[in-house]
């Protein structure tokens, strides 16, 4: 009878049910379920965390997407947004002067409409320095909300009437937090005056003010936002641009980027462990089906038929286990969210469906990647095996057996990483780790073998067992080693890397910026701080200029494709000058200037240099006060943007910029109870603007803390996957162990002796695995820290101690638990099965 696909499918389904019923697929399907489950729970969870983080970061933007234009935004765009089911709100912003009887002040007016803000919240208070609360809505018609500094600057108070343009408004509240402002230009702020968009016409200001910035804020479902952006962006006109979370503040961006890397990494380790578990249990499944194959060949099954029966069987198993795994993952992430939800006020949006797809795909490709090569060998099992069992044994496991699995897994890891560099780093690390594990295991086994004669009898028995199956022992050391490596990485990464990351935001990071300090106030301001018993903050000169030439060539925004480059050239830079480099900056190339040098020089931040293709030696020309200022770039430096210390893209050597009109700025840390000092300062120096960046910082800190928490939980799943690998490895040798123990018991070995032998074997195996895992984890941690996260790394001696002792004890216990069946197995039953 010729091979028939439909018949094979029916047969495979029956075989699957029979194998399942016989308990043959338990470990393999468990491996798949846990594998897919851990991948999808990580997937669901990271997906939701990612969405939440993006929302969190969006509160700094006030929306998911903002369109900024120097002309009124067409009404048709609002209609388009509605069609995409997006919420929208417009605002306009412009500088203006506010005048009272005694004083006048430059202010930044912002007119808003409901439902502004779309993300984040407006906070107001009724009194100076009083606790604030979330505002219900926006200023009512006829009233304004203002920054506290403005009250001091104008000498007015809440409930006073003031004139904005031609109309009188009541100051209804003090504005303490405004989300969109945090993402605006921190250094160009005049005190804020917020009013209702309906009132703007009555002020009569729009017609006379030339520079008005129109914003349309948009929020909604993430894909709708992306689709809307994709549609609108190509139609933007000159003077219009879009800003999403990606373009928001650099410190938020870098926090998000790190979060993605951490979570992606944790997910990838789960994927890897899944592969190992599936490979181990597939091997056992196939080994146990060699005889079946021979019998099937013998009773007339063709190679093709047998292969397709097993292939379909694997496919059904992969799909069913994948579906169950997805359900498990979905359930598990709820528990996860519950745990995190109780620890933090952390509302997660529902996940997308992508993790299900990824989970199913992971299950199938992992299963086929690792099961296919040995499966293909099944069809070559000679039918003569029914007469001679020594024929047709599976060839020793080798790279070529797992080649497909390794390739598939590598592709999965890179895909999961969503970043080739990260994917390759982790792959490289894992490859080194695997080689280390394998090499280390072989070496240690050889060393142990040399000492075997000096061991107690049970230990000798255990070690002999390991030596007798060197390849299998090495494979187990690798499996256990990977599990232990994850555990150690868990502690190494979490405790060392996360601490290092958290430390990058020191407790005394500035929480207030002072800007608009006049050069003649530098001395008196310093004096003010020392009189108040406070540390005198460093004051940085600041000067605004537009970059017009790089290396002798005029630069225009349209010369660059990169939108960031275009924006940088459209607007003015904040330049500064200094004799010494700021201590938290790092020189990348070139030399910092010596005090003796008289030639004017620039130092450029490396990110900016890369964006605008600036190199050391290039001459830059800035337009400052309509004058060209020329100097050569003598060095590039890196800046920690998330340190919150004042930093500048371009710094000039002394003597280049001093003759131009400048102001000074500073960043300082004030404890909560000393905010009153600011009130005093503002009264004494009314022109100085104080910017509260504590709110922004709190948000960044919350993101970091939550991400840390999330990473820990994600690693918990990786840990479960690691334990499963260990179980699968133990289980895979169960048949052989039962056979051996039965023979030994038949020959009179007592249970106690057998138990001791098992303990000796697994403790040795665990300790070996722990030793090599500690080495691999340390190296991997080092690679990740130094090359990926740019953090310092200290080798930790405890890792080895914990690895060896923990590995020995853990695997010893797991081994005894996993194989206790052999101690209680009736010899006769076992002999009948042999």
């Amino acid at each position: 009878m010729r091979h028939n696909i439909a018949a094979s499918i029916r047969m495979s389904w029956r075989m699957l049910r029979r194998d399942w019923r016989a308990g043959e697929l338990t470990v393999l399907s468990l491996a798949l379920v846990i594998a897919v489950g851990s991948v999808t729970s990580v997937g669901f969870f990271t997906d939701r965390v990612r969405l939440a983080l993006e929302n969190q970061a969006n509160t700094l933007l006030g929306a998911d997407l903002v369109m900024i234009s120097d002309q009124a935004i067409a009404e048709s765009l609002r209609v388009d947004a509605e069609n995409f089911l997006l919420e929208s709100a417009t605002s306009i912003e412009f500088p203006s002067m506010m005048i009272t009887d005694e004083r006048n002040q430059l202010v930044s007016i912002k007119a808003v409409e409901s439902p502004y803000p779309l993300r984040g919240e407006l906070r107001i208070s009724q009194q100076r320095f009083a606790p604030d609360q979330v505002a219900a809505g926006i200023p009512e018609s006829g009233s304004i909300w203002v920054d506290m500094q403005l009250l001091d600057l104008l000498g007015v108070n809440v409930n006073d009437m003031v004139k904005v343009g031609e109309t009188d408004f009541k100051i209804a509240a003090i504005l303490t937090n405004e989300p969109a402002r945090a993402s605006g230009q921190l250094f160009s702020l005049a005190p804020r005056v917020m009013l209702n968009l309906d009132d703007i016409a009555s002020t009569g200001l729009i017609t006379v003010v030339s520079r008005v910035r129109h914003r349309m804020m948009l929020a909604g479902e993430i894909t709708a936002v992306a689709n809307f952006r994709a549609m609108v962006e190509p139609r933007l006109q000159l003077g219009q641009r879009m800003e999403g979370i990606e373009e928001a503040r650099p410190e938020v961006r870098s926090a998000l980027e790190r979060a993605r890397r951490f979570l992606g990494l944790a997910a990838m380790i789960s994927v890897l462990l899944a592969g190992v578990a599936v490979a181990t249990s597939s091997q056992r499944f196939i080994r146990r089906h060699l005889d079946s194959c021979a019998v099937m060949r013998c009773v007339g099954g063709s190679q093709q038929q047998i292969l397709s029966i097993f292939m379909f069987q694997m496919l059904w198993l992969g799909l069913i286990a994948g579906a169950v795994g997805c359900l498990l993952g979905f359930g598990a992430q709820f528990v996860l969210v519950g745990i995190i939800g109780s620890l933090a006020d952390f509302a997660l949006p529902p996940p997308s469906l992508l993790p299900i797809l990824f989970g199913l795909l992971t299950g199938l490709v992992t299963q086929f990647g690792f099961a296919l090569p040995p499966l293909l060998q099944l069809k070559n099992v000679p039918s003569l095996r029914v007469l001679r069992r020594d024929l047709g044994a599976l060839p020793a496991r080798s790279i070529s057996t797992y080649g497909l699995g390794i390739v598939v897994l590598s592709a999965l890891i890179v895909w999961q990483a969503g970043d080739l560099k990260l994917g390759l780093y982790v792959l490289g690390g894992l490859m080194v780790a695997l080689l280390l594990l394998a090499g280390g295991a072989l070496l240690l086994l050889k060393v142990l073998g040399a000492f075997r004669a000096h061991l107690f009898v049970e230990w000798r028995f255990g070690v002999t067992n390991l030596m007798r199956r060197p390849m299998s022992s090495v494979a187990q050391v690798i499996a256990f080693g990977l599990g232990i490596m994850v555990l150690l990485l868990f502690s190494v990464i979490r405790d060392d890397l996360l601490d290092e990351w958290g430390n990058s935001l020191p407790d005394d990071a500035p929480n207030r910026f002072l800007i608009n300090i006049q050069p003649n106030q530098v001395e008196s301001l310093s004096q003010f701080f020392s009189e108040q018993g406070l540390k005198v903050p460093t004051l940085y000169p600041m000067i605004r200029g537009r970059l017009v030439e790089i290396g002798g060539k005029a630069v225009q925004p349209e010369n660059y494709e990169n939108p960031r480059a275009q924006r940088l050239l459209e607007r003015q830079f904040n330049l500064s000058w200094a004799a010494q480099m700021q201590t938290d900056n790092q020189l990348i190339t070139g030399e910092w200037w010596a005090a003796s040098e008289s030639e004017g020089q620039f130092s450029v931040e490396e990110g900016l240099a890369k964006t605008l293709s600036i190199e050391v030696g290039d001459t830059l020309v800035f337009l400052i006060d309509e004058q060209r200022v020329t100097a050569r770039v003598s060095n590039l430096r890196s800046v920690e943007w998330d340190s919150f210390r004042p930093n500048f893209f371009v710094i000039a050597s002394p003597g280049v910029l001093e003759s131009y009109s400048s102001s000074y700025m500073s960043g300082l840390y004030l404890p909560e109870n000393e905010y009153i000092v600011l009130d005093k300062m503002v009264r004494q120096f009314p022109n100085i603007t104080v910017i509260d960046i504590a709110a922004v910082m709190t948000q960044v800190r919350i993101i970091i803390e939550r991400v840390t928490l999330a990473v820990e939980y994600v690693f918990l799943f990786t840990l479960i996957a690691g334990l499963l690998v260990m179980y699968a490895a133990i289980y895979s040798t169960l048949d052989e162990r039962i056979r051996e123990s039965v023979i030994l018991r038949t020959l009179g070995a007592g249970r106690r002796r057998l138990l001791n032998g098992v303990v000796a074997e697994f403790v040795t195996l665990g300790a070996l695995a722990g030793m090599v895992a500690a080495t691999a984890a340390s190296l991997l941690g080092y690679i990740l820290a130094v090359h990926l996260f740019q953090l310092e790394y200290q080798f930790n001696g405890w890792v080895w101690l914990v690895g060896i002792i923990g590995g020995g004890a853990g695997i010893g216990v797991a081994g005894v638990l996993g194989t206790r069946k052999i101690l209680n197995y009736p010899p006769l039953l076992a002999l009948r099965e042999v």
Partner: protein, 234 residues
């Protein structure tokens, strides 16, 4: 049955099987020729290592010879490819092994169903149940091999062999793993079914009693056919 011996179902010509071992080339079968007629019962006997199992393997198309030809039911066995031989086995051959070779994950009935299922036959459960009832295991349909005694396992194997109504049955030491009483029982069953279905039996055995029940015995020594003895009666 004996009277029905008409044409040859197995014909072997100049069969050689050599393997290369670390000690040099090893001759397992040496220029062996024989003929077995349809409906005949033939025992292949000889000491351990004489090559009798090798011969059985080659006759059934499970192994390939180094030289020589085998015709099975009119087909030149080694002109067929591996799958061709499997298809021929499916339609023509039944097997009974010393170690039973039941699939441990399948129940007794599923084991009997297997060759029919592989042959694409639909609705095979009644057929398998009937066959098991025929070998006295009607009460054991849903038992797994490890829940059955050796004799019962071998009866399942016999049911599996006969369920496809083979023209020829190959048996490799079918009583080798059984005590003599059980072995006797199994042999009885084997010959009974053989009679019913009119199949040819080729069996390898150490058991002289079993060999005597066959029409003739072929004695193999060091890979050569040394004697062909005709038994008195079946």
């Amino acid at each position: 049955m004996v009277e029905n011996i008409s044409r040859s179902i197995v014909r072997v010509q100049g069969l050689c099987k050599r393997v290369v071992s670390p000690e040099g080339e090893l001759v397992l079968l040496d220029d062996l020729s024989l003929e077995i007629s349809a409906g005949e019962a033939v025992a292949i006997v000889g000491v351990s290592g004489s090559g009798k199992s090798t011969l059985l393997g080659i006759l059934a198309g499970l192994d390939v010879p180094s030289e020589g030809q085998v015709w099975l039911d009119g087909h030149d066995l080694f002109k067929l490819d591996e799958d061709g031989r499997a298809a021929l086995r499916q339609s023509t051959v039944g097997f009974v092994f010393q170690s039973f070779q039941l699939l441990p994950n399948l129940t007794a009935r599923e084991n009997v169903m297997l060759p029919l299922e592989l042959g694409g036959v639909e609705n095979v459960e009644p057929q398998a149940s009937e066959m098991l009832a025929r070998v006295g295991l009607a009460e054991r349909l849903h038992h797994y091999p490890k829940q059955l005694s050796g004799g019962e396992q071998q009866r399942v194997a016999i049911a599996r062999a006969f369920v496809v109504k083979p023209k020829i049955l190959f048996a490799d030491e079918p009583t080798g793993n059984l005590d003599s009483a059980t072995g006797e029982h199994v042999i009885e069953l084997l010959f009974e079914l053989n009679r019913e279905q009119g199949a040819t039996i080729v069996l390898v055995t150490h058991d002289d009693a079993l060999a005597r029940r066959c029409n003739r015995s072929l004695r193999i020594d060091a890979g050569r056919l040394v004697a062909a003895e005709r038994s008195v009666a079946v």
